[in-house]
């Protein structure tokens, strides 16, 4: 490990999109909404071949871009009833910029009972980014725009 790499080692390799909200419903209702294929289709996208079992492989069909046919390939990674539901989210193509670019990410839903209902935290992780404030502050409007758009950016060690 050289000095430069050591300097950078503490920096996170990936960034997540995190949305954390409280819904005025019981955890059982929320759990059904996020792990039932028909209901998923009503608020997210309609999954093909989905079953809430670890190892299950399913797909979402979205708008194609360039060489990518628009298929998001998913795999159920974790099913802890009323607590956690996680799946891999892979798709895109090397040649695309922005929408449709290659990605290998993970979506994790975490549920928590609270007094007013259920707290749902969605983390879409695995976006590889440099993580250094000086880099961001010096990178001009592009980055500022991005940070403004993301409600919460939580960089975590992959």
């Amino acid at each position: 490990m050289n000095n430069l790499a050591a300097q950078s080692a503490h920096l996170a390799d990936t960034t997540s999109i995190v949305i954390d909200e409280v819904f005025p419903h019981r955890a059982e209702v929320l759990w059904r909404a996020i792990t039932n294929g028909d209901l998923m289709g009503r608020w997210m996208m309609k999954p093909n071949g989905f079953a809430p079992e670890v190892g299950n492989r399913f797909t979402f069909q979205t708008t194609p871009a360039g060489a990518w046919d628009g298929t998001i390939r998913c795999e159920v990674l974790e099913v802890a009833p009323l607590e956690r539901f996680a799946f891999a989210w892979r798709g895109g193509d090397e040649a695309n910029v922005g929408y449709g670019s290659k990605l290998d990410t993970v979506v994790t839903f975490t549920l928590k009972r609270v007094q007013t209902g259920t707290r749902l935290r969605m983390e879409h992780s695995g976006f590889v980014l440099p993580k250094n404030d000086t880099a961001y502050t010096n990178m001009g409007k592009g980055w500022v725009k991005c940070v403004e758009t993301l409600s919460t950016v939580a960089g975590e060690q992959a």
Binding site: F23, H25, V29, G142
Partner: protein
């Protein structure tokens, strides 16, 4: 007009921790030379040059030759592909949460708050 860089190229350029550190040092300085970057880095000047070349190809740094020296600086729009890409997904989830709220109301009208 610079050709937009595919986001995967930007990511690959930044995936290497040493190269990311080089980029961060360039971004943190107004302008910096290879010699300055090499000093105290623990890697050779040749290695630094290679990293700078990758960063340049990814559209993250630009160079300005002056006499026998070459000055490097961060390309202001270098991270734009990443920003656009992340923005797409953050909007996607934000919208989905709104839709989820409506679906829950529909399947569970007797919510706990009423």
């Amino acid at each position: 007009m610079i050709e937009a860089t595919p986001v995967s190229v930007v990511m690959r350029a930044l995936a290497d921790p040493t190269r990311r550190a080089v980029f961060e040092r360039v971004a943190g300085a107004e302008e910096i030379t290879v010699a300055e970057l090499t000093r105290g880095s623990g890697v050779t000047q040749g290695a630094i040059s290679q990293h700078l070349k990758s960063l340049k190809q990814a559209g993250l740094v630009i160079e300005r030759p002056e006499g026998r020296k070459v000055y490097y600086r961060a390309q202001p729009d270098g991270l734009e592909p990443l920003a656009d890409w992340m923005k797409h997904y953050s909007i996607f989830w934000r919208d989905n949460f709104d839709k989820l709220r409506a679906v829950l109301k529909d399947i569970d009208p007797e919510d706990t708050s009423s």
